[in-house]
Each structure stands twice: as C-alpha cells, then as structure tokens.
C-alpha cells in the first residue's frame, strides 16, 4: 500500500493533491424505507472491514510521517444503497461485499418482519459512511 502511494505521489505535480475517497466501517444502519418513513432494523456488522480501514490509515500516516504528504482536509457524508427487497440486498452483499460485511440472523429477521409489515412501496436501505481526505504532495525531505 505504501509503495503504491509512493508511485502515485511520483505521478503528481509538485503542487498536486491526493484525494482518498472510501467508505469506512461505522456499523452502518439498515432501514426499511416507505413513503416518508424509515424504520430501523438495526445495524450491519462491518467489523471485518475495519482491518482494511486501519491498514489504509496506517499507510497514509506513514506517508505523512515521512514528509511526503500533508493532510489538507477531511469530510464525511452518508452514502445510501437502496434495494427493492431484503433478498436482493442479501444477494448483493454476498456477491460484492463478502468478507467486509456480515448480516447477523437477528438483523435479517427484523428486516424481513418490517418488510412484510410495510404498506405500499418499500425499499431496503443501508447507509454507509464515506470519507474524503485530501493530501498535498510535499517535497522530499532533505537528505532523504
């Protein structure tokens, strides 16, 4: 990861900026959404993804410590995924996020119950937390 960041830094102009965009594990909420209403089924277990988060954070801190990047700013915001049903959501997670997210049985049961009880059009929503951090490229420290 650090090696990749070194290469990316080399591709930047001296005033260049690195923009790191990624979701961060934060026990994302799972809701059943109907017109004008969202009912919470609970939170997904995204703890497996924290290993990747920590590795990425460590790599960036290494670059900062070595004087190669300086952090400029950081913002976080919600990023929602919406499916038509709990089954669609489960299939999507199994196909795309295996190893990053676990849906505990109790959470799934609660989501299915809310889905059955919901009136009218309903959707299933997981709201991720996404972070954008920006870093200015710094010159190589003297003597490096």
């Amino acid at each position: 990861m650090v090696h990749a960041l070194e290469r990316i830094r080399g591709a930047l102009t001296p005033n260049g900026v690195l923009v790191d965009v990624r979701p961060v594990a934060a026990r994302w909420p799972l809701d059943i959404v109907t017109t004008g209403r969202a009912q919470s089924a609970g939170r997904v277990d995204d703890s497996p993804g924290r290993v990747d988060d920590r590795a990425a954070d460590r790599a960036l801190r290494t670059m900062e410590r070595r004087g190669l990047f300086r952090r400029i700013d950081q913002v976080t915001f919600p990023f929602a995924y919406l499916w038509d049903s709990v089954d669609e959501m489960s299939d999507y997670i199994a196909a795309n996020w295996e190893g990053s997210i676990v849906l505990p049985e109790r959470l799934l049961a609660r989501a299915r119950k809310l889905e059955r009880e919901a009136r009218g059009e309903r959707r299933v929503r997981i709201t991720m937390r996404v972070i954008i951090r920006t870093y200015a490229r710094k010159d190589e420290p003297r003597g490096a």
Binding site: T13, L18, L82, E88, R123
Partner: protein, 98 residues
Amino acid sequence: MALERDPHGNETKFLHLSGGLSGARVLEVGCGEGRLTWRYAYGTRSTVAIDPDLEPLSTARDACPAEWRTRLHFVQADAEHLPLRRSLFDRAILAWSL
C-alpha cells in the same frame, strides 16, 4: 426499481467541494466500471482512470461518451506499476481503492 446508489448525490457534491477537480489533470486509481469517473470527469482537463481488471475497464470504455474520448482514457494498470510519466497529474483520486 433497480439498485440505487447515493440518491442524493452526496459523493459528487463532496468530491467537487474537496477535490478541486475542475480543469485539473486527474489520475483515478481503481476506477472499476467508472462509477465514480462519470461523476466528475466532465469538468476536468483530462482524466486517466486505471484499474488492474480488464473486464470492468471494458465496460467503462464501452460506456464512455464519444465526445469525452479525447480527454478520458481507461488504462489497465495498477498503482504499483504506473505506466505513466512522472509529475503528470494535478490530482490523484483513490476511488474506494486504498
């Protein structure tokens, strides 16, 4: 209704606010099928979007509007072996890829 992502466009909004991408020469790392690329590339001077996997890259290339093809390029590469000149880009975006 199909899968919907970020219906309020938060990512696009915050990417533009934070990234200073307008008029910039941009390198995007881990572009996949171009999900993020389509959200910002129209405003850049040029964009090179890389991904190690050919299949999603092909999808992105096929979806690229003809009028963008002179300044938006999808390249099979990974960040550790960048086949690019040094000091070429004003911005480098890690697109959910670090």
